[in-house]
């Protein structure tokens, strides 16, 4: 599925899934999910080499993805389901009792496509590095990807991992930062500024790339493709991807308020009205 219009159509459907899922249980995190829709759609449908129908925990010979900012589980679940990891219909169980689609992703309920629990922030980079090291030991040349929130970078473990990956030339790994500038309490700049993120990662010894339009499908694909060209060159790779929290739903954009709140019935309809065309809702 490399046709951009098809991918954009899929992104629209994923956004419908996101708002419907969080509305149904009046909880969850739509803002970051909407903002990372292009990234996950591109990653799972164009960029990564993977086998949704035959999920294995080891993922030998496959590219692996780790969602470190686990609260954006709605977009992760929707993308996993819509590329075949599990039935699309299962999205309706999100955050409900006895579901495999827990509030934050977990391996505990055996959901195909998930290889680590995440939710408590800052842990996914270390896990991704471990998986990348195992690939090197196994002479497996596939790539490990991870996604992190920008607010998440306030966690110290991220920087432990950043030091390690550069010092040990973990160069089969591409981390992406969802640089939307917002976190629960407000703008990242005001809560705890990250300063110059690019120079920070550069100083840590990483190859740093930018995706300036993280909600433009072509820009995301091109950016990740470019990142792939640095694989095997002795440095870990980070992509700073500028996105808009709430992207695709006008009233959820430009604010941190939709980080972790669900739309009411009226707001859901308003959102869905902005996401029309060939919809195939679960």
């Amino acid at each position: 599925m490399a046709d951009i219009s098809q991918l954009e159509q899929l992104a629209k459907q994923v956004r419908r899934d996101i708002v419907r899922m969080v509305h149904a249980v009046n909880s969850g995190h739509p803002g970051g999910s909407l903002g990372c829709t292009e990234y996950l759609v591109a990653l799972y449908n164009v960029v990564m080499k993977h086998d949704p129908k035959n999920f294995s925990m080891d993922g030998k010979g496959e590219d692996l993805f780790f969602l470190s900012n686990g609260h954006i589980s709605p977009v992760f679940y929707s993308v996993l389901a819509r590329c075949g990891y599990f039935p699309i219909d299962e999205l309706k169980t999100f955050r409900k009792l006895n579901s495999r689609l827990q509030g934050h992703p977990t391996t505990h309920e055996g959901l195909p496509g998930v290889r680590i629990a995440s939710g408590s922030l800052g842990q996914g980079m270390s896990v991704a590095i471990g998986a990348a090291l195992a690939k090197k030991l196994n002479k497996d040349t596939s790539i490990v990807y991870s996604l992190h929130g920008d607010g998440e970078l306030q966690e110290g473990q991220i920087w432990e991992a950043a030091i390690y990956a550069a010092a040990n030339k973990v160069d089969n790994y591409i981390a992406t930062i969802d640089y939307n500038g917002r976190q629960i309490d407000g703008d990242v700049e005001n809560v705890l500024s990250l300063g110059n993120l690019r120079t920070k990662f550069e100083a840590f010894g990483w190859e740093v790339l930018d995706i300036h339009e993280g909600n433009n499908m072509t820009a995301v694909i091109d950016g990740l493709r470019k990142a792939q060209t640095f694989i095997g060159k002795g440095k870990p790779i980070v992509v700073i991807m500028k996105t808009e929290m709430g992207a695709g739903v006008d009233f959820m954009m430009g604010t941190h308020k939709w980080h972790g709140s669900a739309p009411n019935d009226e707001q859901l309809q308003k959102a869905l009205d902005q996401l029309v065309g060939n919809e195939a809702d679960y």
Partner: protein, 317 residues
């Protein structure tokens, strides 16, 4: 009282190092990680023999636990090594989410547990680690008693699929476990059959329990002595069988009373056959600097404390 002898005193951490070294040769999936304490954990031999399977992570324990979790995803069996304090309390959330909840096959190996770390003092003398680890669902918690048992335990946990906390220590202690004794996770070891009182000990307190058993025998008291190297899963059957006979118990451990082996035994008995119990353990206190022997005496974890507890608990029957 059965006679126990030993030819030398050895540290349990060296038993871990020897076991890990053997695993390095026998199991190509075993990898090791250390947070700047390779010498203290006796991981040097593994590092030297298998540099490609050894990961020096520096003073960054949280990252170490995460990397270990990730390594399992490629089919590796990671053994992490650092002091018990930095293996548990410092990285509790990483263990909880990335290892335990994620069901990852990580072996968290912890040295310098308890008071016998000695002069470094309370910052390093964790006495809460067993409690922290045993509360995590499906976490296996093992605290072997001497060099041979630690070596055997290290080798055994590689074949157990799932997270394990392996606790050992710094000082040299009598190495009395037969070198060829098979280590069975969750299986108590009957050291002495007796009829008046059961003494259940773990780790460094096992040898002291043997010494206490000898002193009690001299006073005409028949003590049943059980070595509980696996605190979780606990060998319920062995403990209940012993208590059916003796009707009272002393638990002994180098750990806080809250959350330790004694707690697990008390819970088991309360749910089955309640019996008087005395706890030889640290009582809601931090440690301090001193020699290991001085500390064990000051904090009431010595042979004499087990003897006194046995005599006291027998009167409560």
């Amino acid at each position: 009282m059965k006679k126990y002898t030993y030819t030398e005193k050895k540290d349990t951490r060296s038993g871990f190092g020897a076991g890990l070294s053997e695993l390095g040769k026998s199991n190509p999936d075993v990898v090791a990680l250390c947070a700047d304490l390779t010498g203290s954990l006796k991981m040097d031999a593994f590092q030297k023999d298998h540099p490609e399977r050894f990961f020096q992570v520096g003073i960054a324990e949280a990252n170490m636990i995460g990397i270990a979790a990730g390594l399992t995803i490629g089919g590796k069996i990671p053994f992490t090594g650092t002091f018990a304090n930095f293996s548990t309390g410092r990285v509790y959330d990483q263990i909880r989410q990335s290892v335990a909840y994620s069901g990852k096959n990580v072996k968290i190996c912890a040295s310098h547990a308890g008071l016998t770390l000695g002069e470094d003092g309370a910052t390093h003398q964790i006495l809460e680690d067993i409690g922290l680890m045993k509360m995590l669902p499906h976490m296996c918690v093992i605290n072997p008693c001497d060099y041979n048992q630690t070596k055997a335990a290290t080798i055994a946990i590689a074949d157990h699929h799932g997270p394990v906390y392996l606790r050992f220590g710094r000082p040299t202690v009598p190495n009395f476990t037969p070198a060829d004794q098979k280590f069975e996770i969750g299986k108590a070891i009957m050291l002495n059959e007796g009829s008046d009182v059961t003494i259940i000990a773990t780790g460094h307190l096992v040898w002291k329990a043997i010494e206490a058993g000898e002193q009690l025998a001299a006073k005409g008291i028949s003590a049943e002595i059980i070595n509980i190297h696996t605190i979780k899963p606990l060998d319920d059957a062995a403990i209940l069988k012993s208590l059916a006979k003796t009707k009272c118990v002393v638990t002994a451990e180098e750990h806080q009373m809250n959350g330790g082996l004694g707690d697990s035994v008390a819970q088991l008995l309360a749910r089955n056959t309640p019996a008087p119990q005395e706890f030889v353990a640290v009582n809601d206190s931090f440690g301090e600097s001193g020699t290991p022997d001085q500390l064990m005496t000051k904090y009431g974890l010595d042979t004499v404390n087990i003897v006194e507890a046995a005599e006291k608990v027998m009167k409560r029957k």
